[in-house]
Amino acid sequence: MKQLKRIHILILVLTFVMILSSGCTNKVADEDKNDARQLPAGGKEVVIGVSVLDLANPYYVQLLNGIRQGAATRNARLMIDDPKSDVNRQIQAVEEFIAAGVDAIIIAALDQNALEDVLKKAKDHDIKIVAQSTKVDNCDIFVSFDEWDMGYTIGQVAGRWIRDKLGGQSQVAILNYPRIAQIAKREKGIRDGISEYAPKAAIAAVASSANPEEGEAATLQILKQNPEIKVVVGINDGGALGALAAFEKMGKTADDVFIGGIDATPEAISRIKSDSLYRATVDINPFYNGILDVDFAVKLIKGQIVPDAHSENAVLVTKENVHMY
């Protein structure tokens, strides 16, 4: 009896894996076969490999949703890999895309140096490359919101706030995220924006946080050490919303407090609408960017001429225009 069971377990392990992956892939498999017939004949459907930074990050989930939407309307099939912020995994993904014979790759590179060689290889295979958010060598087009510009947009508002409501002088806290190199440019933009309008404002505290939990913990700590802080600017809404929670917890709800971030997440929008201390965010519309990416990729595959770079302007969202959201 027991030996019989042992075999059952083995078969279970075996079939479980099979069923799981086949359950997920059946549909794609069918598309695959169609695809194999169409492509050599120069058919209409194109295949695009997609690798963004990290699908645990809502920004990239939205970008991907846009890419999906764009692909659906342009008869493109997607091959998606989430590198989970791991550069090596992203390199692997590009290798897999090359082996699978995709027509184009949309990539938000984690590290431009690390991706250089493998993207060159992709280019040698005549694969079109759309670089999203991070500029890479060998790309056919670089689609982005400039990181510095994003930071500068929110920094300017904070600077004007300090000039107009705080007499030009205030202690400022910045919530940054040094683990991702390109976000450093965003932080620089924030600093430049603030100092342009409020040169006397002092950056009194800098802490790393990218989500509400980290943002709240960091801000509570900062406020304990430095109760004078009236302005907090985050490199994203996640961290800055945590700062808002911290201010509310400590009962610091004075009219002259400014908290702002970047991304225009639904929660940030609703906080701006509800007259909280959350004054502004920056809309970088990743969904629209995703549609743009596919659009450019398809144009490139068809041999149409596209610019080397396409930059969308970041849109500031404040009390004045928040009703549009």
Binding site: L10, L14, F16, D111
Partner: protein, 329 residues
């Protein structure tokens, strides 16, 4: 009966074969030379480190710090090269550092009697912190061109990382199967107390296995660095999950004492094929995570079930013997 034996002995290879067939049917892009070499190159880092993990797990231990050692040795090599140290020396220093980190793990396990799970868990976080601290969270880059050969070069048509992994497996096989220390490693995992009583220096064996793990993580770290050509403080994050899954899948018992390194090769390949195949057939990422997690649980469940079956079979034999003795008397 024969079929059963075949299953238990070669089950893992059958799973491997089935997966190859399965993905070949699903996608034409799977069974191409290009893609097969991709898979081999992609598993090289995890595979190399898995050899060290096999040593550790055979003694009944575990090393959760592998991913962080890979990260730290990579950053160390990168920083040294950027400072102008010749690549060969930078690599050697990193390998020594890997061994030292392994020895430190073993030191705490041996001398303070802390469970390996806790020691290496703490080390995992500590070392990752060091990698971030040293680099300030930024990638380190700008190495000599020749350095990329380790991770991106070929010998003939075989990628060099694959050759390095092959050599690691070969060395592991020889050490475990042909040398006394191999028997002792199995012995410590099978029954630590019995090994001690029969004169095996258990502490020494543990120092050995953790330093082997550290060394191989060092090698893996250098290969990974060369592949990405840029020192990432995040490099190797959560690799412990892949490495442990591969080793367990390969049939190494989590309780120690049992398992073959040849099985681990199959385990590593299964993990690689699973990940590659799921990307090529476009299984969503979230589903991929679920599959990988379940594979680990199922592999361990299979192992634990086998263990308990053997244990109960053992009691049965003992009871039978006792009964026989009673009858005789």
């Amino acid at each position: 009966m024969r079929i059963r034996e075949l299953f238990s002995k070669y089950g893992i290879y059958m799973v491997l074969l089935l997966m190859v067939v399965f993905f070949s049917v699903l996608s034409e892009a799977f069974l191409t030379p290009d893609n097969l070499f991709n898979i081999l190159r992609q598993v090289a880092v995890v595979g190399t480190a898995a050899v060290g993990m096999t040593f550790v797990m055979l003694t009944g231990g575990i090393d959760l710090s592998v991913g962080s050692i890979i990260g730290v040795t990579g950053i160390l090599t990168a920083s040294l090269m950027v400072m102008g140290v010749p690549a060969v020396i930078a690599v050697l220093i990193a390998l020594i550092a890997g061994v030292l980190m392994g020895l430190l793990n073993a030191f705490i396990i041996n001398e303070f009697n802390v469970p390996p799970l806790i020691v290496t868990l703490g080390m995992m976080t500590t070392l990752r912190g060091i990698a971030y601290l040293v680099t300030g969270g930024m990638p380190v880059f700008g190495f000599p061109e020749s350095f990329t050969i380790l991770g991106q070069g070929y010998l003939g048509i075989i990628p060099i990382p694959v050759i390095i992994m092959g050599l690691a497996f070969l060395a592991g096989y020889i050490l475990l199967d042909k040398f006394t220390i191999g028997r002792h490693i199995y012995g410590v995992g099978g029954n630590e107390e019995a090994s001690r009583l029969s004169g095996v220096n258990v502490k020494k064996i543990k120092y050995f296995v953790y330093s082997v793990s550290g060394l191989l993580c060092g090698i893996a770290g250098v290969v990974l660095l060369s592949r990405t050509n840029s020192g990432q403080p995040k490099a190797g994050t959560s690799y412990e999950m892949d490495i442990i899954t591969a080793v367990v899948l390969g049939g190494v018992s989590i309780k120690g004492g049992e398992g073959k390194i040849t099985g681990v090769i199959a385990g590593v390949l299964i993990m690689g094929i699973l990940s590659n195949g799921m990307i090529i057939t476009n299984v969503g990422d979230y589903a991929q995570r679920i599959v990988q997690g379940l594979v680990l649980i199922l592999a361990v469940a299979f192992d634990c079930y086998n263990q308990s079956r053997k244990a109960s079979a053992g009691t049965l034999i003992r009871e039978n013997k006792a009964a026989a003795l009673n009858e005789n008397s």
